[in-house]
Amino acid sequence: MEKKLYTIIVYTENIAGMLNQVTAEFTRRMMNIDTITASSSSVEGVHRYTISLWGEEDSVHKVTKRIAKKVDVLKADYYTDNEIFFQEVALYKLSTPKVLADSYISRMIRHSTARVIEVNDNYTVVEMTGQTDAIVELYNEFVARDCILQFVKSGRVAVPRASQEKLSDLLFDEDYKRKAVK
């Protein structure tokens, strides 16, 4: 089976130890997480994890079901890149003297979607929001110009393309609640 990049979106109760429970399902299969973003969701008290990893669909499907089954997990689904909108954020810290000395660098920044968020005598911080390829491409160009001091990139955040039920609707759905009681 073919390996693809998948994004798993998990909603959990906001309690200590949840991340450990979710990631343990990957550890058990020695599946290597590519990126992970954890934050609060639009529903109060509910946390959202966006996890990306390379894998075969069969194992991604099974691991998602195992995560969904956990008592304090509200919902877990997996997507291919075609099924979601996703973005990452990167910060590039560049040497200001080198940026000033090489006008190609500032031209590169202007021609990309990146923006400068801090300049001082020593360094310049550039931020870019985009997809992995574009972020890495810009990084490689900075490396080629020998101006990069530090580089950091976030995990992805993603929303599915398909219109789907909102989590808050799901939580207050009477039929959903009924299933909790025998």
């Binding site: 450990n20 343990a24 304090d72 509200l74 299933k179 909790a180 025998k182």
Partner: protein, 564 residues
């Protein structure tokens, strides 16, 4: 308003009463002393069973739970007390057994400082529990206990851990009894899809050779009657997994035997002959499927399970029905046509007759030579009117007792199916006898497994637990020796075992015993065991190098069983 304040421990006691707890298996220690102190005032409410090792506490709670259908409870201390429960918790997770393990924990102020007997019990147990939670405030006790029992006992049952810090045990709190009957992120009883049920009924009605596989889910769902009504209407032969052996009486006309590596020939061969496989409350374990690539490829598969994550896990399913079998089976019964599959059912009988001639007859009536496990098991079963609870240890004793014990009542097989825990049997039998005192409890163990938790003889002595222990002693770690013989060129590495004088060991604990070495003594010895009012150790010297047969060799297809 001056409401009475109570300690976290007292809140625990009242919460346990609220959950209907009548028995606690446990072992005290530093971090849980306030709880055991509180239990001193509840001696008349809870039967306190002091085990001799915390592993025994969990297995006893498992035996209690599996035989009674209630949630089993054990209470242990932090650190080593807690880590000693890990095998039992894992066993309960794999075999869907509802147990709650409450462990002491160091005071919350010193958490994370490597305090004496501190371990990250929640962190360790998260992957092997349904829910694992640390109680750090006395006011959370009522909620946490209610939630623990609710989660352990509902849906697909499983183990729950409560890690109780010492400061929370002694802190003062208001107390209101809490009842938890839902958790918003947890769907224990999914609503079965009507269209899936209709689709399954259509497949069943069109099938010429339907075959049903029944697992422990039927026992956990208390769907025995619903199962019989369904199979009798649709006339479908049924095989049971090891874990589901007492889901259907052994002598039911539609019962065609046991599945698995050492199961019966008919059901294993016909798995690859049927045109429809209907699996209920079972998980297509690798011990059942053999080589999964050649497993039932010719058949359509209907899988009924309460756990969504079991669907398509090991075997591709055509019609999944996610729901409680007690609800699903009557819905199916209503839609299936009354049918007759005489010839098909007869084909199981014919295949089983081959096994009978090649294996079973020789196992039950060897005539001469050393005693064999099979004949001992069958005779004990018959001496109890086939109505006892069978508890097994793990290994040859487990397979032979599963093969030759007979079942007439539900909740009568207690065995470590998923984890295969040697040492499970003796403490599980103690828990079963305490839960079901009116039933006869027979535990079959080998000389290896018995010694893994033999310290629980002390619990039997102290509690007066009338379990019937049948030691099938072959002076080997028999199952490993069998594999060494068959697949490792007879190299008996680390499997011969020098045994103690078990009658002396039993005597030390005040347990009556008898050693049987001759076939002629067997009936009388079994009679003595059954008639002795208390615990009894029947020590049977069985053939040293005997194999469990038939067998699906590792990697082979389910229909490629060997007889020798």
């Amino acid at each position: 308003m001056g409401k009475e304040k109570i300690t976290g421990c007292e809140a625990l006691m009242r919460s346990l009463v609220n959950e209907g707890v009548d028995t606690v298996f446990g072992y005290p220690g530093g971090s849980i002393m306030p709880v055991f102190d509180a239990m001193y005032d509840y001696r008349d409410v809870f039967r306190g069973v002091l085990v001799r090792h915390e592993q025994g506490a969990v297995h006893a709670a498992q035996g209690y739970a599996r035989s009674s259908g209630k949630v089993g409870l054990c209470i242990v201390t932090s650190g080593p007390g807690a880590t000693n429960t890990l095998t039992g918790i894992s066993d309960a997770m794999l075999d869907s057994t509802p147990v709650v393990v409450i462990a002491g924990q160091v005071p919350s102020a010193v958490l994370g400082t490597d305090a004496f007997q501190e371990i990250d019990f929640v962190g360790i147990t998260q992957p092997i529990t349904k829910w694992s939670y640390q109680i750090r405030r006395a006011e959370d006790v009522a909620w946490a206990v209610a939630r623990a029992f609710y989660i352990a006992g509902t849906g697909r049952p499983g183990p729950v851990v409560l890690d109780f810090t010492k400061d929370a045990q002694v802190a003062l709190t208001d107390f209101e009894p809490v009842r938890v009957d839902s958790v918003r992120s947890y769907i224990p009883y999914p609503t079965p899809s009507q269209s899936a049920i209709e689709e399954a009924a259509k497949l069943i009605n069109g099938s010429k050779r339907p075959f049903m596989l029944v697992g422990q889910g039927v026992e956990l769902g208390e769907a025995h009657k619903e199962l019989v009504e369904f199979i009798e209407k649709a006339d479908i032969p049924v095989a049971r997994t090891l874990m589901g052996l007492s889901a259907l009486p052994s002598d039911h006309p539609l019962c065609v035997g046991m599945l698995g590596m050492h199961g019966n020939y008919g059901p294993n061969v016909n798995t690859n002959e049927c045109d429809l496989l209907i699996a209920v409350g079972m998980r297509f374990s690798d011990r059942v499927t053999g080589n999964v690539r050649t497993y039932a490829k010719q058949a359509k598969v209907v899988h009924i399970d309460i756990d969504h994550a079991e669907i398509n896990k090991n075997v591709a399913v055509d019609v999944p029905i996610v729901g409680d079998c007690k609800e699903v089976l009557p819905m199916l019964t209503a839609l299936v046509e009354r049918a007759s599959h005489k010839e098909w059912i007869e084909s199981f009988r014919q295949l089983n007759a081959i096994e009978h001639e090649k294996v079973i007859e020789k196992a039950l009536n060897p005539g001469e030579g050393p005693l064999l496990m099979g004949e001992v098991v069958r005779k004990v079963s018959e001496a109890t009117g086939n109505s006892a609870i069978l508890v097994t240890d793990v290994g040859q004793n487990q397979m032979m007792s599963a093969r030759y014990f007979k079942f007439t009542k539900p909740h009568s097989i207690l065995t470590s199916g998923g984890l295969g825990t040697m040492g499970y049997g003796l403490p599980a039998a103690i828990g079963a006898k305490i839960a079901m005192p009116e039933r006869t409890v027979c535990i079959f163990a080998g000389d290896g497994g018995l010694q893994m938790n033999i310290q629980e003889f002390g619990t039997i002595m102290e509690q007066g637990v009338a379990v019937k222990i049948i030691l099938l002693n072959n002076n080997y770690l028999g199952n490993v020796r069998q594999w060494q013989e068959l697949f490792f060129n007879h190299r008996y590495s680390w499997t011969p075992m020098l045994n103690p004088d078990y009658s002396l060991v039993a005597k030390g604990y005040g347990i009556a015993s008898r050693l049987v070495t001759e076939r002629a003594e067997l009936d009388d010895a079994i009679k003595e065991m059954i008639e002795t009012p208390g615990a009894f150790l029947l020590h049977v010297a069985v053939k040293e190098e005997a194999n469990v047969m038939p067998m699906t060799p590792p990697g082979a297809s389910v229909n490629e069983m060997i007889f020798e």
